[in-house]
Amino acid sequence: MLSRVAGLFSARGYNIDSLCVAETLDPKVSQITMVTEGEDDTVEQIVKQLYKLIDVIRVTDHGPDNHVARELALFKVRTLPDSRAEVMRIVEIFRGKIVDVTPDSYAIEVTGGAEKIQGLIELLTPLGLEDVTRTGRIAVARGL
């Protein structure tokens, strides 16, 4: 299924900014969350093209608003004795968690919007940021 969706995007020249695949409440159904960009008519065309795939059950265009979106990021920071406390303070401000500690590193978990994660990247870079792994955005519509 993923190859059909990804193939559709590449064949028709649509961008994939991020893509996240996971199981749903029904184990036979999987959910793909994608972030793409385009004018309204492009997005309309993307939705229609996705519906044309035989296995697609439902397509929801979350649009720019009216949904809650989050992303999970895992950071690895090289820690020096004089920067450990500063890293911890920043993580706390960002409501992140330190999930692994070694004598010279922290692994940090943070969720949030893209700006928040970008902000944290900028703050941690001078303090020894080694690596970031991001899930890409997932979203849920507001209300029922």
Partner: protein, 569 residues
């Protein structure tokens, strides 16, 4: 009843009413061929898998039924790709069974292994890998359903060798369980009424229709619609035969090599009624300048066709026939239609004036070289437009579209979207198998014909009396034309004068070869060729520099047509 996968396949085909299969055996489908041998389903041995898929395609176009092809794994599948892509672009219903290496070997770079699912996904409506023989019958049922419903298209069923040998209980399902695949046939009444309101207000309406009319079997309804409104009608390459080409309301084809009056009418109309067409770039030319003053109605069963490249005011998703029936119902007691004819009369005058200004034509000189248009014209006279005509791709295809006025739907077999050279001969073979009593003509030229000419052996083997009009001009004509106009006559690799000798070629295959080198031989060769009960190649030695006019240069607005003088051959 317990059966092996291969027998389930053949039984399922019989269950689907398949009367002919085009295929080529190989290692991965040995079990399937053994079952074909056992069950006696009619099978045609093709000489190349591309030809096989084109045959199934030609069969489907000429009959309206779903074509079936069988190919082996690896090269069998890669050879089939062009055929699948051709059918996909033109929305032709096909089911292609592909052999696959045994499931434990998949992904191991096994002998004759290819990623069939990955390769065929972009050129099919849907594809299946059957990993469990218990799923096979239901998968085949789904494949036929998907191929032939909604906007039709090719479907691949990939069958690993071990699955074709494995045993399962055979039961062919009566229905499919595809909850999320529900093509919309029923046109929305509200939209139809909105469209009708635009029609009633229009002063310069034009109908522009495409292959959807053929697929939907809606020729009768379309004709009734146009005759009721007395509205000018133009059509795409895929729409040919949807109404009789020489009907009094027909403007001929539109687009790159369409008639001047068609393109002018579309350019200046105030209402464009698009029916089962997709605003292809060969139709629109420069999109921003396409029919700039018109409101647009668009009827199509595929929602993605609507507003893909051109904005439309009233989209109607649904089956063309269903939608036209609704229009006809609305028209029945519409008082405002009374003076419609008077209202559109000035519009017709304008269109007729355009036709006098530039109509398509040629001037065959008695002692000059043969003009290809002349040959097609004579063939049209002989057949009265009631033959099945298959074409290849290039100049001859456009001339056939311009001068052969097909009278009926499903009589015109051409590769429109993909423009596949080599399509014509195998497609003509498939058409002749599907319509054994009808005259099947192939209009081709040596460039295209060379690409699938081995299939002549199939026509000979089965005694198919296909009339092949080889409009030989010793060049790749359409490329030569573009090089002449847009590359300052730098003719790069278009020379085809080295042969072969097509009369000898026909002879070597056991077909009949005839040649006309002079205009006064054209009619006698055609008469002789049409009287032959064998495949016959009629080799017409045509003028090399002949150009296909009118022409909208690529990327230009469709009103900016090149006309050229009618050539003096």
């Amino acid at each position: 009843m317990k059966l092996i996968g291969a027998d389930i396949l053949v039984r399922s085909l019989q269950e689907e009413g398949v009367d002919i299969v085009f295929g080529h055996p190989g290692g991965a489908v040995l079990e399937v061929y053994d079952a074909i041998h056992r069950c006696g389903i009619r099978h045609v041995l093709v000489r190349h898998e591309q030809g096989g898929v084109h045959m199934a395609d030609g069969y489907a176009r000429a009959t309206g039924r779903t074509g079936v092809a069988v190919v082996t794994s690896g090269p069998g599948v890669t050879n089939a790709i062009t055929g699948l892509a051709t059918a996909y672009m033109d929305s032709i219903p096909l089911v292609c069974f592909t052999g696959q290496v045994p499931t434990p070997m998949i992904g191991n770079d096994a002998f004759q292994e290819a990623d069939n699912m990955g390769l065929t996904r972009p050129v099919t409506k849907h594809n299946y890998l059957v990993k469990d023989v218990r799923d096979l019958a239901a998968t085949i049922k789904e494949a036929f359903h998907i191929a032939s419903t909604g906007r039709p298209g090719p479907v691949v069923v990939d069958l690993p060798k071990d699955v074709s040998k494995a045993v399962a209980d055979y039961h062919y399902p009566e229905t499919v369980d595809l909850e999320h695949y529900q093509p919309r046939y029923d046109a929305h009444w509200g939209q139809v009424k909105r469209a009708m309101a635009l029609i009633l207000k229009a002063e310069r309406p034009v109908v522009y229709f495409g292959g959807g009319v053929i697929t939907s079997n809606a020729s009768k309804e379309l004709l009734a619609f146009c005759e009721r409104l007395k509205v000018p009608v133009t059509y795409t390459l895929m729409g040919i035969g949807g109404i009789p080409g020489n009907h009094q309301y027909s403007l001929g084809m539109l687009g790159m090599h369409g008639t001047y009056r068609s393109n002018k009418a579309v350019d200046e109309c105030d209402l464009l009624i698009a029916i089962g067409a997709r605003f292809d770039d060969r139709v629109t030319g420069k999109v921003d300048d396409f029919s700039p003053r018109s409101k647009k109605i668009h009827v199509d069963i595929d929602p993605t066709s609507i507003r893909k490249s051109v904005y439309v005011d009233v989209p109607i998703v649904g089956d063309v026939k269903n939608c036209l029936e609704k229009f006809l119902e609305l028209m029945q007691d519409e008082p405002k239609l009374k003076d419609y004819e008077t209202r559109v009369a000035p519009w017709w005058e304008k269109i007729n004036a355009w036709d006098r200004e530039h109509s398509i034509g040629y001037a065959q000189k008695e002692d000059g070289p043969i003009l290809p248009q002349y040959v097609i014209d004579k063939m049209y006279e002989m057949t009265a437009g009631r033959a099945v005509v298959s074409t290849d791709v290039g100049q001859h295809q456009m001339w056939a579209a311009q001068y052969y006025h097909a009278q009926r739907p499903n009589d015109w077999v051409t590769s429109g979207g993909l423009g596949t050279m080599g399509f014509g001969l195998p497609a003509a073979i498939g058409a002749q198998f599907g319509r054994p009593k009808d005259t099947v003509v192939l209009v081709t030229s040596e460039g295209s014909f060379s690409m699938c000419c081995q299939e002549l052996a199939v026509a000979v083997e089965h005694d198919l009396p296909i009339k092949i009009l080889m409009l030989r001009n010793n060049t790749l004509g359409m490329v030569r034309q573009w090089q002449q106009f847009f590359y300052d006559k730098r003719y790069s690799h278009v020379d085809m004068s080295s042969g072969p000798d097509w009369v000898k070629f026909a002879d070597a295959f056991g077909a009949v070869g005839l040649r006309a080198s002079h205009p006064d031989e054209v009619e006698s060769v055609l008469e002789k060729g049409f009287a032959t009960r064998k495949p016959v190649i009629m080799d017409f030695v045509c003028r090399t520099e002949e150009n296909c006019f009118p022409m909208v240069p690529g990327g230009a607005a469709s009103r900016d047509m090149l006309h050229g003088e009618p050539s003096r051959g």
